[in-house]
């Protein structure tokens, strides 16, 4: 367990920039992640959100849970919208029309809005070197529309469009590695995080906010509704994801890799898979495939940290 200093929770700001009263499911660890990010960034930011769970639960007209400037345009363009706001602000400051307040620009989207339909806009925004943070809240499927698979759905998971049936055993492809795609764009900062590790998450967001250029943070966002676990286990299952090495917590600063939460004695992947209904069909053979893959990926990651 992340060593939670008894007093550490008190050091977090009491202000809520993502106001309570949002309509996320009970136990939504994605909403919790948004809450942490909002605390880490404070009020001096502009947020562009893709269509998805977080956008829907927080903006039912004429109400909003956002206490910072927030814009939603469409599903696949959060990266384009936020970089438009960033470039506009840059121009207005340079032309002396507004003061430079050091505002942080944040684009946010789910796994669907980032690694599938939003990949093009994100890649373009990275390549053009805009000064913004992009956060992917990864709940591993198109949850808002009813748990359909995305390219971030893990191998073997059952979703409504990759259901486990007589012939097929859930998702047939491996999870697309968005963090590595971000690293391939040679941007100054890439990190993975999980709402079960709040201080690691918030530190990474604060760090990203201090760096100039494009930054990417991929947050594993546990979804009790879509994954099939009791709502109270949302934080616990996130810990299993990290402790089984299924979701490593690391950061890449200018190409230099560093694991921020090392797992020297990993738990077997079954401890992560078994408690979730979306994996209940997983046979020992499938679990072995997953274990082998997790082991190989961890070794690859470790090797990169030694470069």
């Amino acid at each position: 367990m992340e060593s939670l200093n008894v007093y550490a929770s008190r050091l977090v700001t009491k202000r809520e920039y993502f106001a309570p009263g949002h309509r996320a499911c009970q136990g939504c660890a994605e909403a919790l992640a948004v809450r942490f990010v909002a605390k880490a960034l404070g009020s001096n930011c502009v947020v562009a959100s893709a269509t998805g769970c977080m956008e829907i639960v927080s903006s039912p007209f004429p109400f909003t849970n956002w206490k910072v400037p927030w814009i939603h345009v469409a599903f696949e363009n959060a990266a384009a919208v936020i970089t438009g706001a960033e470039a506009a602000t840059k121009a207005l400051i340079r032309k002396g029309k507004i003061a430079d307040k050091g505002t942080v620009f944040l684009g946010m989207g789910g796994d669907g809005g980032t690694s599938d339909i939003g990949l093009q806009a994100l890649s373009g925004a990275f390549e053009r070197r805009h000064d913004f943070i992009y956060i992917c809240y990864d709940n591993e499927a198109y949850m808002n529309t009813g748990v359909q698979r995305s390219s971030a759905t893990p191998f073997g998971a059952s979703t409504t469009t990759s259901p486990a049936g007589r012939l097929k055993a859930g998702q047939v492809t491996w999870k697309k590695n968005m963090a590595e795609i971000a690293v391939a764009h040679e941007i100054p900062y890439v990190a993975t995080a999980c709402s079960s590790y709040p201080f690691d998450l918030m530190r990474k967001v604060e760090k990203a906010a201090r760096i100039r250029g494009p930054k990417y943070i991929h947050i594993l966002s546990v979804c009790p509704t879509g994954w099939g676990i009791a709502s109270e286990r949302a934080i616990w299952i996130g810990r299993q994801a990290v402790e089984t090495r299924m979701f490593p917590l690391y950061e890449v600063e200018n190409g230099k890799y560093r694991i921020t939460y090392d797992v020297p004695e990993p738990r077997p992947v079954e401890e992560y898979l078994k408690p979730q209904t979306r994996f209940r069909h997983v046979t020992p053979e499938l679990a072995k495939q997953i274990q082998d893959h997790v082991n190989a990926e961890w070794e690859k990651l470790k090797a990169k940290t030694n470069l």
Binding site: F61, W66, P69, I71, T83, G84, A87, Q120, A121, G124
Partner: protein
Amino acid sequence: MAKRIGIENSIAAAEAIRMANVDVVAAYPITPQTHIVEHLAELVADGELDAEFIPVESEHSAMSVCCGSSAAGARTFTCTSAQGLALMNEIVFIAASLRLPIVMILANRSLSGPLSIWNDHTDVMSVRDCGWIQVFVENGQDLFDHVLFAYRVAEDPKVSLPVMINIDGFIGTHVIEAIEYWDEAQVKKYLPEFKPVNVLDPDHPITVGAFAVPGIFSEAKKAQDEALIDSKPHIIKAWKEMEKVIGREYRPVESYHAEGAETVFLTMGTFNETVSIAVDALREKGASVGQVKLRLWRPFPFEELRAALGGAKRIIVIDRAISYGGPGGPVASEIRAALYGEKNMPVITNFLCGFAGRDVTPKDFTAMYEKTLDLAKRGVVREEDYIFYGVRE
């Protein structure tokens, strides 16, 4: 009298955007819009225009970047044609619903398929319902003037709507014409600084783009419709103010010998000038013929159109677009709808022509006039819903 210089219309348009002192340009290359955007890139690279030039990776991102930019309070410009417009389609609709004062020049080009880089109106007609203010210009001077007009109207706090300027691709964009640039004093007098109605500002946080449940969606649409309808008086005022500054007159509907004419052509874009030549030739032979040029497409100028066309017996509507298996060319459908139920409703004949920039000459328009008169002589009100002119069998 200001100096007129011979210059390619696209370059002149880019110069007008420079004079408007835009803050952000986000565009993706597509023929025949390219020269406008290339020249803007040059102006920015040379320091003549202080703007962020964002070479986006697709038109969908171009309009998305424009939304973010306009919402952040910057004067924003983009430019596209045909397939680019089709790709950014969903965002075009959203930009209007968010009431963002983006200005876009649309270099009208055929919508695929088959692929065609040449000019017609199939692209703009596919976004009739998008909610933007839409105007059609007919030549280079028209285009230059309308850039300044577009920002003036779009950014007017009583309007706050995006504006689309339609110019025929190649025929309107790539030709060299004699253009009179405005001077700095005229621009300063006509175009105020942009003071956005809604802006993303950490000191005054707002939410833009909330979703609407059925219980409020209709009210949102009504509000948007009323905003577009109510923009008309401000549009007319902006034209009248422009006339005072530069001496050129523009109206929603412009008449060329239409008053008292039995037969009236209705045209848009560069066909205006071609048809005027045909009208002149016919009138010399004693024909009772005139022309109405439709400049303001949205909000549709019902009043002005009925007034201009009301006296005619026959209207020849020229369409450069098609609605397959539909009631006629898009423009003819709208003219018919506008005149439906009017006393002494004129007979409307619809010719579709000029697809993919195919040349339609004054002789062709004369032939259309003669065909229309022949139908009238035979007492035929409607032989075909629309006539696809000049197609080889």
